[in-house]
Symmetry: C2
Subunit: 343 residues, 2 copies
């Protein structure tokens, strides 16, 4: 059934009748029905860890909108949590780890990819979602990139300055490589198990790759993502992969040369330029400014048109935002955006 999926076809740069669309964080706080389930779950990690609830919120946006893919509801920090760092979410502050990494011995003692067994709840959710969603719609699995996971594990929480992560990169590069290798092995197993559970494409979220220098990006982020993409491609050649480095607009060419099928493109990029630069090598996903969804319907329609025409008429475009949808977006505005893409 999925051979006809517009999303899968676009990822393979095959001709499509119209541009497919999905939304980063489409199952999320902007939907009242999500907030109701979240309230029922009590806290965010319980929601992630309960397959029935994760399934329910994954399917919610599909009931409201004509989307071309679903994305597994989970968090990018499940792997560090399974490694024993103790993840929790503090209201308005984001994720926190009870046991951030503070020395090399902690990295050495981190469990290997075996810890992914503890993430059975993710694979159970993926199976349940796959069983309950339309057979002709693809389900996207995902993981944080090794560098992004490492940032949270080293900082212990959200940060703007990444003091710990940079300190390791400059003063303890071998230890950081050890951590990134462990994470890479774990992500390969994690995404492999998601594929075994039924996801039809995988996406790597490199939320913090864009804070790096070009050299650090090529040393500590990109090669590990490339290794993941290549390992999965060898084992699951039909499953397309998407790589998204937020703020990575200057490095798209290097990303396109990793063997990945598609690149996520944030809103700071000129889609016409990116399409000319790497559109012959990879599919492109994006890149409407998420802030457009707080504008008027007329502006939303106009800005959607601009993204579509900037990409051009060739194959290989998946419409999306340039970053995740924010909680304050009125769902009606999302409907306007999707209608405009489909029109």
């Amino acid at each position: 059934m999925l051979e006809k999926s517009l999303f899968i076809r676009a990822l393979r740069r095959q001709p499509v009748s119209r541009t497919p669309v999905w939304i980063m964080r489409q199952a999320g706080r902007y939907l009242p029905e999500y907030l109701a389930v979240r309230k029922q779950a009590g806290d965010f990690m319980t929601l992630c860890r309960t397959p029935e609830l994760a399934c329910e919120v994954t399917l919610q946006p599909l009931r409201r909108f004509e989307l071309d893919a679903a994305i597994l509801f989970s968090d990018i920090l499940t792997i560090p949590d399974a490694m024993g760092l103790g993840l929790s979410f503090v209201e308005h502050e984001g994720p926190k780890f009870a046991n951030p990494i503070r020395d090399v011995s902690m990295i050495e003692r981190l469990p290997g990819a075996d810890c992914i067994e503890d993430l059975r709840y993710v694979f159970d959710a993926a199976k349940l979602i796959r069983q309950n969603m339309p057979a002709d719609l693809p389900l996207i699995g995902f993981s944080g990139s090794p560098w992004t996971l490492a940032c949270y594990m080293l900082e212990g929480q959200s940060t703007r300055e990444f003091k710990h992560a940079f300190k390791w990169a400059y003063d303890e590069p071998l230890a950081l490589h050890l951590l990134l290798n462990k994470l890479t092995d774990a992500v390969i197993v994690y995404l492999g198990q998601q594929i075994e559970a039924g996801v039809n494409a995988v996406m790597l979220f490199d939320t913090w790759g864009g804070v790096l220098t070009p050299e650090l990006y090529q040393t500590f982020s990109l090669p590990y993502m490339a290794k993941i993409v290549q390992a999965l491609k060898a084992k699951y050649p039909t499953i397309p992969s998407i790589m998204f480095t937020k703020g990575g607009g200057q490095w798209l060419d290097a990303m396109a040369n990793t063997g990945v099928d598609a690149l996520g493109v944030d809103w700071t990029c000129d889609m016409a330029y990116v399409s000319r630069l790497v559109g012959h090598k990879v599919a492109l996903q994006g890149n409407l400014n998420p802030a457009v969804l707080r504008a008027t319907p007329a502006v939303i329609r106009e800005e959607v048109k601009k993204v579509l025409s900037a990409f051009g008429s060739g194959p290989g475009h998946i419409f999306n935002l340039g970053h995740g949808i924010t909680p304050d977006v009125p769902p009606d505005n999302v409907a306007v955006m999707i209608e405009a893409v489909r029109a």
Copy 2:
């Protein structure tokens, strides 16, 4: 005297005996002697508003380090404060405006460039500094860019999402242009008065240009900076100008075509690439990752070398960080960096 200044010569892309160096936020909280004056002043704005104190902290880093320029100590938000928005600084939270802009009538009622008269304390500080600093060292004046000032005026405080600013950009573009035009007129007068008071070069800090889409950048940030640069160039042809959009690595070519003398380059840019791209049109200032100053001396020396060799052997490089120095940097590490540049 200043015709021999390495900094001024490099800005003009004239040959120099070695690469000049200064540091964004070189007068700041990483220096104990700054903290002492700050404590004496009581609060940050009193420090800015007292020419003797502003002069003292401007000169402090020159006593400690062999720097090739001083930068006037002030804040980028003096203009909105002079326009009546009521600036204050909340510890650990950054700037706050008591009266952020909430509707078009507030923009219409904003005072014009006459309000710059209220910033006499800035010009008095510039005069005092110029009198008290070595005659062969240049003094840099500066302003926030119109877009960056507008962001703070519309948001009322620091933000990651710029919800208000984007809302105006998409839904009320004419009102936003009115605000930006008022700010542009004010910045031209402000920097002109700084030049009259004795500053030898001017820099525009476009801290928030990098959060824009390429189209919004070309609509709401770059043209206003270009207008300022051109107006100052017409009136003060010998005063070089520097334009710095943080996160603007994708737009350096457009920036280089505004008539500006130099571009600030942040640490996410590949200096070798930027040098090839626009180094024949403008001088380049940057771009050591500020996080390097928290690394070991050996790493600092190595990373300084990389920036110098990436720029290449041609004229037109001013060594600097890719963003402001952070309060936790040990001053000894700054000395290591400066020695490495001068070596």
